[in-house]
Symmetry: C2
Subunit: 129 residues, 2 copies
DNA sequence: GTGTCTCATCGGTGATATGCGATGAATACC
DNA sequence: GGTATTCATCGCATATCACCGATGAGACAC
């Protein structure tokens, strides 16, 4: 039974900086972590741009709620707003989206590569640490 | 005047079901939408499995808080818990993670393909920024 | 000017998230 | 038996989210 005692009395190795490195990706995930916002992004991808009213009509939500979701996406940099007359046309920020996609991909690849690395020699690794 | 009036007086075309299709991916994004949880997932990828104490030592958070984050990830299906003695070993749910990665990839590809479809005609708009 | 349309923002409400310390159950060790 | 360790859970405080209706600003039509 003494075989798998965890060395848990160590000092904290990952402090605020450790978390900070995750913050950018986490912010993207958080912004996309709501069905309505995902739906908005998808809609904008499919029709290039849309005014707020159009987006509202595609969602079972009040205009004010949709406007707030749009604000969240805008704050995250995922879309931009182009005011024209009394309409406000929203469009995706391709640059930011590509960057987000890149971050996301990198994350998954990171997971996969680490998984591949250690699942081959998994058991040995745990006691060496 | 009539140039860019939005046809916004339409009925709502995307009701609850429309949102429902986004819910699965949104749930994954939401679970990963916190720096601490991202850090936990990364850590588990790098060392295959870890007990709660180890994870706590890698984060600038109290044990109870980390335990809650672990619960969130567990609820999302991203990791599993394997109780051994008084230790509880957490490990990533590879299957779910691959599924999540797939969903995520599909999402980005969907965006890109739609973007490619309609942005052929719209380059002028984007470079103004 | 008035009226209408579009949209952001305000204020309020209820739910959820985030964090902590305290506590208790289960296990391991003596 | 007693004690220590590990971890989940409870209780609480605070912050943020999600949603709505109401309101107001700006643009347009007349």
């Amino acid at each position: 039974m003494s075989e798998t005692e965890c060395p848990s009395a160590k000092a904290c190795t990952q402090s605020r900086e450790g978390l900070a490195s995750c913050e950018e990706l986490a912010a993207i995930f958080r912004a996309l972590g709501h069905p309505a916002r995902l739906a908005i992004v998808k809609q904008l991808a499919s029709q290039e741009e849309a005014c707020c009213g159009e987006i509202v009509n595609h969602l079972p939500l009040a205009q004010s709620t949709v406007s707030q979701h749009l604000q969240v996406l805008k704050d995250a940099g995922l879309l931009t707003c182009d005011a024209r007359g009394r309409n406000c046309h929203y469009l995706l920020n391709r640059e930011k989206l590509q960057q987000a996609e890149h971050c996301s991909k990198e994350f998954w690849e990171h997971l996969n590569s680490l998984a591949a690395t250690c699942s081959g020699a998994s058991v040995a690794a745990s006691d060496s640490d």
